[in-house]
Subunit: 591 residues, 2 copies
């Protein structure tokens, strides 16, 4: 299946919506259009020529375990070499360890492109990026020197080991043990499951980050520490030593992402090295999880982009039926699907979501850069608040978009050969891993909303209000964009008020509405991004920009989102206000 | 995976909501609780003991084509013998040909049970039922005598051949040719694709109903006729003769329903017999399609029922986290998932949909019985109006429910071994085949709404209004059920008015909202069924019925649907009223 990176749209968001190169975030000054464009085009080329052609074949072939060795699908190894050669994994990582130290917003845009081209493949790199980030944040100087250069270069890859058969979300229950040794290392014993990129044949070594319980930490999550457990032990000179006591028990048969080896990992007295503080493993792991949640949010919409592109091509080529207002292809046997209003409705749902999501995620990455590069606590608070929305909302809607794209193909969409089933199957996991979306909603309502005395959520409302106030003199913008945004934002505030009033008395009253709140929040975020995008598009048109069609399309797409998606906020609010009673009233045995 | 037929709920709908045995529809008098219960329990036993155990293995193994012969998964043949032995296919078919002539409502209830247990398997029977129904409706006496007994007994099975590689919905484009022969038969040549149950090893013969173009019929759908093309020709004495010129080109690799052989069928001068009138094939095929659309609507929710049952079991057994209001399983390592509000929200979404859908479909079957057995044109008009709603709405929501059930399992839901992926993959096809759901919406808004001068839709509103008026004195019913129903019904009427006012000027204004209208209509239908169910449950409680817990659960579940699902009608209306502009404004090249 062919894939073309949406570099034009990315450029619009970077240069015209977020105006990155004039931002005061350190490092943003160099993000001039020519520079960012060169990076995105290069990523697009790799995606189109190398990664996308392996997407369907990787799905069909899957990974296999033979005599303890994991083999990835045909072609993955060569593609991984190309990924390494491009230095993509180090794009936003420190130069001291071989990275390029660019802002994370660039890594984010490139990440969307690679995920779209081949999500299962890109996870080998993505998990390594998260693992090395955790080592850089919590490791000793020696650990950083040992692991970071090799992992940034992708000579070695990384994994994250949390889940065990009897617990996923509730990590306090883990049983994997870490026994301290005289030399300061630990022996790790236990079983971890659902380990993405757990092993493979594309790198010399695999560096596992493993949550385990060392003696003396107490019950529950307090007893958890984080350990570095390499597949091959590393000598002091950096060369590889003997095989460590970690092996692959099996590769799971999954609904999708077949090209990624999801492994059962067995640790049998494996040598492990404490990463960060003893008994503070959860907080170290959160570094990795937060990045991973954003990454999964990106996957959520990115996997739907090639599905949309394929659906558009099919809708223009497949001749079926006639336009109700008169034949548009009178010399052919029928009109193309795209003349039909319901096909349009479906495609517009996808398009308006995808572009809104892209702007939202890049804004999120800009907040992250501001938080890290300017040590800006407000930005840190805001992206922390938005992380569960990005993860939960974008993955739910991304799956919906992929399913919608599949629907355009009719019966052909259900046949594996066509490739549309894969997008839906792959997208499905994004709603589940890195905290199922219900857990994201719980995190949002139970933790993030009240964090720091509610400052982050207040700041969010100020941004929305500020934007509306600043622009309400613009009539066109006001009617089509600001009014719907104002109404949606009011619904979000009303939902927050309801939680404050009722949640105090009964926490279930808030938590019964948490999922709806996450979606309500998501719509307001996309509404804000569309309003900002519309303003930028209007400005370009007023300045007689060359590419009028692009900006007019942008405005029409935004109007669609505002008119047809934002009204959902009222339903979410109505559900939230129905409270705990409908949700909680049945005894368990009544189900 | 285990499955228990929801016979208690079916009994409630039959006896207390629809009050079948006191209905004046011919044949309904015998539907006493003891009688219907015996049938449902027997079907439940077959489903639980024979069909459900083959569901996952059938998915894993799939069908295979070897030297032109199609083999079904291990165990299917024996199960098919059990299905035959029970006489289930003839439940509502004429006694003259070996059927039992029971009302279709019983076949419908039994159908739900079999689909839930094993959807892919049940399609072999289901398609045969549709095909023999078409022969009974349009065949000559000789054709009926030749085919009906063998097909009702399932010695022979049936298929329906419409789609060709270049056309599905737009059948006017078909290229399969029928050449008349001197003996009155035809020679059929062409290729048909996506033929469910196209061939297999469980029956002596397969009777294909094939759409083809015979000379002299003109362009488009007017030139189409319907033919009976048996796999083996049938001698006058009913014995099987030589193999006909029809063969399986391949079995498609699909996203789901792997246990059903979806075949490419090649017709190479195959002998065919005209069924019904020459050049009137489309209207004959509609007999089959209408039944098939209802059957797919049943599949839509039925496939989600075992997924719900599995999710409930998992939510009660899996220990993860603690209730926010205090531990409920303090002696265990954690509380069961079911204590968490968002898990409840998810399960209640499924439960309230499934029970509402069941009542809706059984009401639809009762309308069908009234139409056929009492020759009631009003009932015929109403079920014709509701058919696209049953098909489109119940399959969209059924898929959503199956995906939600899968979500309860977290990462385990994504692993094929658990079985939850299969429910989602199987459910996905129901939104596509027998007319993709966009086509159902088009049928509803473009055809059914205005049919017979709008009489059927007026009749529907009268039923809703009548029920509200009749019961508004009942305060409890009024607040929780009638008020929300009234509001939703008002939204539906407003949408209809919008279509009338705007659709006249621009048909795209109506068709841009067709999908939302289908969903809006679906919610009003389920709202009506919940209001009726609530009334019946209240009556039972007032009459000191033994099974109080059942009725109280019914009321609580209904309240959930009304409070949390019906508010969606406002969003659908808002979208509809946004008209054609947002949907249609982009030129095709802007996508």
């Amino acid at each position: 299946m062919s894939y073309t990176a949406p570099t034009r749209d990315m450029q619009f968001v970077l240069n015209e919506v977020l105006e990155v190169s004039s931002s005061d975030v350190p490092g943003y000054g160099e993000l001039e259009p020519d520079f960012t464009s060169a990076i995105l085009e290069e990523a697009g080329k790799l995606a189109r020529d190398v990664l996308a052609p392996l997407n369907a074949s990787g799905d069909r072939e899957g990974c296999r375990l033979e005599n303890g060795v994991v083999y990835t699908p045909e072609g993955f190894k060569a593609a991984f070499e190309a990924m390494k050669a491009g230095g993509w994994n180090g794009l936003d990582l420190p130069e001291a360890y071989g990275g390029q130290n660019l802002p994370t917003i660039m890594y984010t845009a490139v990440g969307e492109i690679f995920v779209s081209a081949n999500m299962a493949f890109n996870m080998y790199q993505g998990l390594t990026h998260g693992a090395v980030g955790t080592i850089l944040a919590h490791g000793t100087e020696a650990q950083k020197a040992t692991y970071a250069p090799k992992m940034i270069s992708l000579d070695w890859t990384g994994t994250m080991n949390l889940t065990e058969p009897h617990c996923g979300t509730d990590l306090g229950q883990i049983r994997t043990k870490a026994e301290p040794q005289d030399d300061g290392s630990y022996r790790i014993t236990g079983q971890k499951i659902f380990i993405s990129a757990g092993d493979h044949d594309m790198a010399e070594n695999v560096v596992h980050l493993v949550l385990a319980k060392a003696p003396g930490g107490g019950e529950g999550t307090r007893g958890i520490s984080l350990f570095i457990v390499p597949k091959f032990l590393v000598h002091e000179d950096g060369s590889l030593g003997r095989r460590n006591g970690v092996s692959v028990g099996k590769i799971e048969e999954k609904m999708g992402i077949h090209g990624n080896a999801t492994c059962v990992m067995n640790y049998d007295g494996a040598v492990g090295y404490l990463l960060g503080e003893l008994h503070r493993g959860m907080s170290a792991m959160f570094t990795m999880m937060n990045e991973a949640r954003l990454a999964v949010g990106i996957q959520g919409y990115a996997v739907a982009e090639p599905a949309y592109q394929a659906a558009v091509t099919y809708a223009k080529e497949r001749l079926q039926g006639r336009a109700v207002t008169g034949a548009e292809n009178p010399s052919g046997p029928a009109d193309p699907l795209i003349v039909h209003p319901d096909i349009r409705r479906n495609l517009m749902d996808q398009k308006s979501f995808l572009e809104g999501a892209r702007a939202f995620v890049l804004w999120g990455a800009a907040l992250l850069d501001r938080a890290h590069r300017s040590d800006d606590a407000a930005a840190e608070g805001l992206i922390s608040l938005l992380t569960p929305v990005i993860k939960g909302f974008l993955t739910d809607k991304g799956f919906e978009a992929a399913v919608n794209a599949q629907q355009i193909f009719g019966g052909h969409g259900y046949i594996e050969e066509q490739g549309m089933s894969q997008f839906a199957r792959d997208a499905r996991i994004t709603m589940i891993y890195e905290g199922a979306n219900g857990v994201q909603a719980l995190d949002l309502v139970g933790r993030k909303l009240a964090a720091d005395g509610g400052k982050p959520v207040m700041a969010f409302f100020e941004i929305v209000k500020g934007f509306i106030k600043e622009n309400e003199g613009d009539e066109a913008l006001n009617a089509d964009f600001l009014e719907p945004l104002k109404a949606a934002s009011k619904d979000l505030q009303a939902a927050g008020m309801y939680f404050m009033a009722e949640g105090m008395k009964n926490p279930n009253a808030a938590l019964s509405g948490s999922y709806d709140f996450m979606h309500l929040f998501g719509h307001v975020c996309l509404g804000l991004m569309w309003a900002r995008s519309a303003k930028a598009a209007q400005a370009a048109l007023a300045n007689a920009a060359a590419d009028r069609a692009f900006y007019e399309t942008k405005l029409a797409t935004g109007r669609y989102y505002m008119a047809r998606q934002l009204p959902l906020t009222a339903t979410h609010l109505a559900r939230i206000r129905s409270g705990a009673e409908p949700v909680m009233s049945l005894p368990a045995e009544a189900f």
